[in-house]
Structure formats: C-alpha cells, structure tokens
C-alpha cells in the first residue's frame, strides 16, 4: 500500500472509535457508572432533618432504595421533585436524599415548601460523599437492592416515564 495513504487510514480508524463513542454518549444521557453491580460506597453524613443520628450506608440495606442526589441550587432537581413525591406514594422503594453542596436552612425550607419525599436526607456540605458516588452533576439517582448493591444509575431529572421504563422494570 502507498505509505502516503497510511495517515488517512489511521484517521478513518479513529473516526470509527469516535462515532462509536458518540453513539454511546448519546445513549439516553447515561454515563456508565463503575459502581453498577458493586456495593454502595461507605458514607456517613449528618442528617439534615434530625441532627442526632448520622445517615450511613447501612440504612440502605434490607429494602429497595432510591438514592437521590439533589440540591436547592439545582433547577432540574426542583423539576423532578413532583416525580419523587409520586414515587414515595407508590411505596415500592424508600427514597434517601443526599443534599449536595447546599445550605442546610435553604434545604429544609425547600422540603417544607415542596413536600418531603425522602425517608432521610444526608447533608453533604463539602461534596466529599458525592465524589465517592461518582456524581457528575445533580440530579442523579441510584437504585440499590436490599443487599446494598447498586443496580442502576440515572443522570438527570426523573420523570414518570423514566421511572416506569428504567426503574420499575428492575424492581422485583
């Protein structure tokens, strides 16, 4: 083969990878989490609502849980709040919140105003715990089975359709 064609061939190969990567990235906005199939990361956070017992990983065991990372500063979180309240009413999972990089007073006011879908909320004021969970941007939701294993992760706001399609299908 003509050696002057080699760069073009290499570029074509690279394009294939890029196109495949792009199709992957556009897959419903999912960013594959290395946590899937692995035990939920260990954490201990002060409880936003009752200042005494910290919220810990062990609270996620023994039942299906939805761990929702949110913040009052995040517009999308406000938008998905109604969906969370509906999910709470269905009673299929217990919802736990991680209030990410937020002001506690504002967060409590937010829940007072819009209703509280959460079983408990941990206040991750510095965002350290969110890093362990590989949080990319609020809101994000993790589905965790009774053994404490992460089953599914959704990046972005929840809607009834997404809940129906991606989460309910994974519940027993």
């Amino acid at each position: 083969m003509n050696r002057f064609l080699l760069p073009l061939a290499a570029f074509a190969l690279l394009l294939l990878v890029l196109i495949a990567g792009l199709r992957h990235a556009s897959d419903k906005g999912i960013i594959v989490s290395p946590l899937l199939g692995k035990p939920a990361p260990q954490f201990s956070l002060p409880d936003l609502l009752d200042g005494n017992t910290p919220l810990q990983t062990k609270a996620l065991r023994g039942h299906w849980s939805l761990l929702n990372v949110w913040g009052t500063w995040c517009v999308e979180c406000r938008a998905e709040h109604q969906t969370l309240l509906t999910i709470k009413q269905q009673g299929r999972v217990l919802i736990f919140g991680i209030d990410w990089k937020d002001d506690d007073t504002q967060a409590r006011a937010f829940l007072n105003e819009l209703g509280n879908p959460y079983q408990r909320v941990g206040a991750d004021r510095e965002g350290r715990v969110a890093i362990d969970w590989g949080v990319y941007g609020a809101p994000e939701s993790f589905l965790i089975n009774p053994d404490g294993t992460v089953v599914y992760k959704h990046v972005g706001g929840l809607t009834p359709q997404i809940w129906q399609r991606e989460f309910l299908s994974r519940l027993p």
Binding site: L8, L15, S26, G127
Partner: protein
C-alpha cells in the same frame, strides 16, 4: 436590541467567512485575479463583525442583562466586574466565540504579512483559514448560540462557576486558544502548499515563524493552566493527565516536532512530506481535543456541558477538514518528496530522532487518553487511565530525547561529525554531573533512582545550549536570532526538567488534623496552626485559616488558606495559601472542620516547583526571540526579490 445586533454580526461574519473561503480557494484555481483581491477584505470584515459580536456579549455581561440566557447562566449581579468580562469564555458558547475571534485575529496577522507571499499562495492560505472559520461559526450559530434570550428574564444570574473566578484562569483560555488556533495557520500553509503541489521548500520558510509563534503561545497557555490547577484546585499537583490537559498537550508535542522538522525542510529541503503531515496533525489534534472536550465523549473535571448534537457536528467538521487534508496529502505528498541524503551522525538524523521520539511521546498520551473510550466502545468495561500509566510510559521516549538533545544541537548539517565541539560537550556533561550530585546530596536528600538522571540531563541541556552562544560571544560574532531563540528555548527545557525532577523526588506532603496552637514539621519547616476566622467576600462567605511557618525558630511565612462558599451556586471552593520562593513552595490548604476546634489541613513542601512554569515561560520566550529576529531579516530578503511572486504552477499539472 443590542444583543440582536450582536447575533446579526455573527451571521454576517459567517457569510464573510464563506466568501473568504470561496474566493480564496476558487480564485487561484480558476485564475480569476480580481477574486484574489476580495479575500483580504472579506477576512477584515469578518474580524470586525466578530469583534463586534464579542463586544456586544461583554457589554451584556457588564450591564447584567439577565434576559440573555448565556449571561444569566454564567454571571451574577454580585460578580466583580473583572470576572463579568472574563465570564465571556466561562462556558461553551462564549468560549467558541472567543475561538473564532482568535482565529480571525490570526487571519488578520496573515493579511498584514500578505505582501511577502505570492498572491495565489496567500489567497489559498486565507481560503483554508476561511473554511475553518466558516465551520466554527456555523457550529456556533447552529448548536451553541451565545445570544439566545430568556423569556421571561430572570431577576439575577446563576453566577460564574467559582472554579473559574480566578485571575490566572481568566487569561488562560485566550492564551491557550492563541496556541491552538495558531496551528490553524500552519495547517493552512501546509494545505496551500499541497494544493499547489509545490516542489520547492519556500512554503516551509513562510510557515516557520507562524508555527513557532503558535507553539510559544501554547506553551504559555498550558503553563498557565497548570499553575492555576496548582493553587486553585488545592491538590498541589501541577499536572494530572486529565483528558482536557492532554488535549492541549498533544498538539504541543506534535508542534514541537513540527518546529524541528520545519527547520530541516527550510534549511536542507528534506523531510518535506513529513513536515506537511506534522502540520496537518498538530491542528487535527487541536480539533480532536475540541471534539473530545465538548461532545461529552470523554468525562473530565473541566468538561463543558455535554451535548451529543454538538458532537455530531464537530465530527462532520473533523471529517471534512482532517479527512480532506489527509486526502490531499495522500494525493500530493508523493511528488513533493526530496532525494537529498545525509549521514548517520549529522544534524538531520538527530532531528529525525527528535521527531520520532516526540511523536511517540504524543502517541503515548494519545493512547492513554483514548483508551477509556476504546474500552467502552468494545464493551471491555470502564477503564480509568491515570498517572500510573502516563508517568512511566511518557518517560520512555522523553529520556532519550533529552539525552540526545545536547549532542544533536552540536552536530553538523549533512556531515557526520561532532568535530571540535566533542571535547566541550564532554566538559559540559561533567559539569552537569557535578552540579546535579551537589544539588541532590547537598540540598535535597532521599533521591529516587531517576533523580540523578533527570538532574544531570537538565543541567547538561542548559550548559550545552550555552556553548554555541558563548563561543560566538568570545569570537565577537553576532548571534543570529534563530540560534539565540533555540538556545533560550532549550535552556527553558533544561530548567523545566530540573524542576520536574526535584518536585517528583523531594516533595513532602502531609494531611493532618490540628487544633489551634498545634504544629507539625515538614523537612526543616515547622507549620503551626493558629485557628480560623470567618470572612465575607463580594459573592461568597467562608473561613480563613492562619498557619505560621518557622525554620530554625525564625518566622518564614504566615499562610492564610481560605475556603469560600459561593452563595448563588452553593458550591465550596478551597484556595490554598502558598509561600513561594525560587527554591521551594510551602503550601497549606484547609480541609474540613473535624470538630472540637480542630481542622484538617493539607501541608506541602515542594522544592523547585517554580522551575516548571519558569521553564515553560523561557521556552516560549525562546520561540518569540527566534521569530522576532527572523522577521527583521526575512522582511528585507523577501521584499528584495519580487520574482518570488510569480511562482509558476508545478509542471505535473497541465
């Protein structure tokens, strides 16, 4: 109203870039001389309208016009004026506008030097630049319009990302883009040379100063980014092998190879097709970096908001520009090769090694950056590639590169002999060894195995780069600008190597929890924590700690690390406090309140870290020196030979 005018100006710039591309490329091809005259005017008009568009957006930021979506998302009424201006490039849309503005700026610089180029060649260069500009402007208008309105307008904005509220970061993107985009000029020259199928090597001479300038800007831009990450992210590191960092580093490595191979083409007429390929590759890697950062294909700490639609657009653009240039290369380069030979120990073969090693180094970075993507595509699971891969792999090509440098700059063109400089070179190697050992055992103990090698190579590069200029000074001969620039840049590299060596070998880092009054010792320095106090800034509140540093009982520095909580976005940003000096940095960063009055603190002692950025700066100064000196000379030569203007078409095409 004004905002709509800005939008309109952007559209006009798009039309003018199309005109610039069309007349620039079609004019010479169809032999329409009057079309050529339209090209510089189109370029100038495009620059004016882009400047107008950018000005309008800056005005919207300064006036707190929160009816503009981009302003509402990236500014706030409490944001200081300086950051309201730099917020222009704080997110995707505005930074694209800056990209096109910088490209228009480079284009204007080419227009200003157009009289030194044959008119058809100059028109083609501008035509290719117009094509690039057209692509980016279309991208901006279709997918990333910075002038979109919010209806209804919000009362106050979302604030600029706190990480970006910093003076070094404010100037980092423009300088970096000057480098990135500067390679577009080299790319355009290479394309124009290939379109004409030129058999001479004049194009290399014309392209050379632009490439060196772009390279110098890119070095500065990367160094600024590294310096910013060093103190703002609070981790104390200067390089993290993050995909976005790599995206700027790969073009720089290939650009470094290019400025060396271009020298061979210019001087000896060799490596022509290789130089063309490197010029295409340097800019292609810049474009690829843009794609990776803005399409959401790779995740990085600096990622822009990901949007797959943008990814598709850039991908099509990549196919047109890079695919087009490489097709042109496959078609035209075979007839542009040269037949002259050279001996094994000549300057040419050292530069060939230099090029191979630099390209291997770029390939190492490329492989590591792309590996997660490839693994993901082939469903091999999620892969994370970090310093444990990059640091050792990068050393493999770079150590021989540094070792050969001192020999290479003293090798002769064509002939295989080091000649009389052999003895002087051995002497510099000896001096370097002695100094390296003195520094290792005299000042910094606990060296790693690579420490003596790195230190020796660093000093050797500095000394051997001084040989030639000193020799000329002694003989009272003028030092040509290219020699001066090259020596300065190589000295910068030596300084950089010494800095990296000692930072990696002798840094001490401790994470401790301290109560007020408690202290901890690192090397000879005693850090005493004196507590925190509350502070409030224009758009944040936070705490400010006090750490008193003493050495042998004498006070050396008082450090005030800070932690800010930004009101609007609610995010927390730590700012490390650094006591800098030439021989070492002392650094303190505040962690969390761990209760009972104690705070967790990260304390660091980093020897010679300033050498890293100083080295990069010296390299850039070397580049500018070479271009500036040559400019004076080249201007005189070319103006005196108007015959160049009538370069005939190559005989292969009738």
């Amino acid at each position: 109203m004004l905002v709509e005018l800005g939008h309109y100006a952007l559209m006009l710039a798009l039309l003018l870039s199309a005109a610039q591309a069309f007349f620039g490329l079609a004019g010479p091809a169809l032999g329409r001389e009057r079309w050529l005259a339209a090209v510089p005017s189109a370029a100038a008009g495009q620059f004016v309208f882009l400047a107008l568009a950018a000005g309008v957006l800056v005005h919207a930021f300064v006036q707190d016009d929160f009816s503009v979506r981009y302003v509402a998302e990236n500014s706030n009424s409490a944001l200081p004026l300086f950051y309201r201006v730099t917020a222009l490039w704080g997110a995707h849309e505005g930074s694209l506008l800056l990209w096109t503005l910088v490209l228009a700026g480079w284009t204007m610089a080419v227009v200003a030097r157009l009289r030194f180029l044959p008119p058809p060649f100059g028109a083609r260069v501008l035509g290719v630049l117009g094509l690039i500009s057209f692509g980016f402007l279309l991208f901006t208008l279709c997918t990333s319009d910075p002038f979109g309105r919010l209806s209804p307008p919000v009362p106050d904005g979302n604030d600029l990302n706190p990480v970006l509220q910093d003076p070094a970061f404010a100037v980092h993107p423009p300088v970096l883009y000057m480098g990135y985009v500067g390679f577009a000029v080299s790319f355009a020259f290479a394309c124009a040379a290939m379109i004409e199928g030129r058999r001479d090597q004049l194009w290399a001479r014309w392209m050379r100063p632009w490439t060196v300038m772009a390279w110098a800007f890119l070095a500065c831009g990367i160094a600024l980014g590294s310096w910013w990450a060093y103190y703002e992210l609070g981790w104390g590191g200067f390089w993290f092998w993050d995909p976005v960092e790599n995206a700027s580093f790969m073009p720089w490595l290939v650009g470094t190879a290019l400025i060396h191979s271009i020298a061979v083409t210019d001087k000896r007429g060799l490596f022509k097709s290789w130089t063309l390929l490197l010029a295409v590759a340097a800019f292609s890697l810049s474009l690829l970096g843009t794609f990776l950062v803005r399409s959401g294909v790779l995740v990085s700490v600096h990622s822009f908001a990901a949007d797959p639609r943008r990814g598709v657009f850039i991908l099509v653009f990549l196919i047109v520009m890079i695919g087009g240039a490489l097709t042109l290369y496959a078609w035209r380069a075979p007839r542009m090769v040269s037949a002259a030979g050279f001996e094994l120990i000549s300057r040419e073969s050292f530069l060939l090694f230099n090029n191979l090693l630099l390209v291997i180094a770029a390939a190492v970075v490329f492989g590591g950056t792309m590996a997660p993507l490839i693994a993901d595509t082939l469903h091999l699971g999620t892969l994370s590639v970090g310093p444990p891969y990059f640091n050792p792999s990068f050393m493999v090509p770079v150590l021989p590169l540094l070792a050969l440098l001192s020999l290479g700059i003293h090798a002769r063109w064509r002939r295989g002999a080091l000649g009389e400089s052999r003895r002087a070179l051995l002497a510099t190697l000896g001096m370097a060894l002695v100094l390296a050992l003195a520094l290792i055992f005299g000042l910094y103990t606990h060296p790693l195995p690579l420490t003596p090698i790195g230190a020796t190579l660093g000093f050797w590069i500095i000394f051997s780069s001084l040989l030639d200029p000193l020799n000329r000074l002694r003989r009272r001969v003028r030092i040509p600008a290219t020699i001066a620039g090259m020596s300065i840049a190589h000295i910068g590299l030596g300084v950089f190597v010494i800095g990296v060596t000692f930072v990696y070998s002798n840094t001490i880092e401790r994470d401790v929890a301290l109560k007020p009054g408690q202290s901890v010792q690192l090397s000879d320095y005693v850090f005493r924590y004196d507590g925190v106090q509350n502070i409030e800034g224009p758009n944040y509140d936070g705490v400010r700690g006090t750490v008193n540093v003493t050495r042998d009982g004498r006070q050396v520095a008082v450090l005030h690390p800070e932690k800010h909580r930004y009101w609007v976005q609610g995010s927390v940003q730590t700012t490390a406090a650094i006591a800098a000096s030439v021989q070492r940095d002392l650094l303190a960063a505040l962690g969390d309140d761990v209760g009972a009055g104690a705070y967790s603190l990260r304390l660091q002692y980093r020897p010679l870290i300033r050498f890293i950025w100083l080295g990069a700066l010296i390299m850039a100064i070397g580049g500018v020196t070479a271009v500036w000196g040559r400019r004076q000379r080249a201007g005189a030569v070319t103006a005196a030979s108007p015959a160049l203007a009538l370069t005939p078409q190559p005989d292969g095409r009738h």
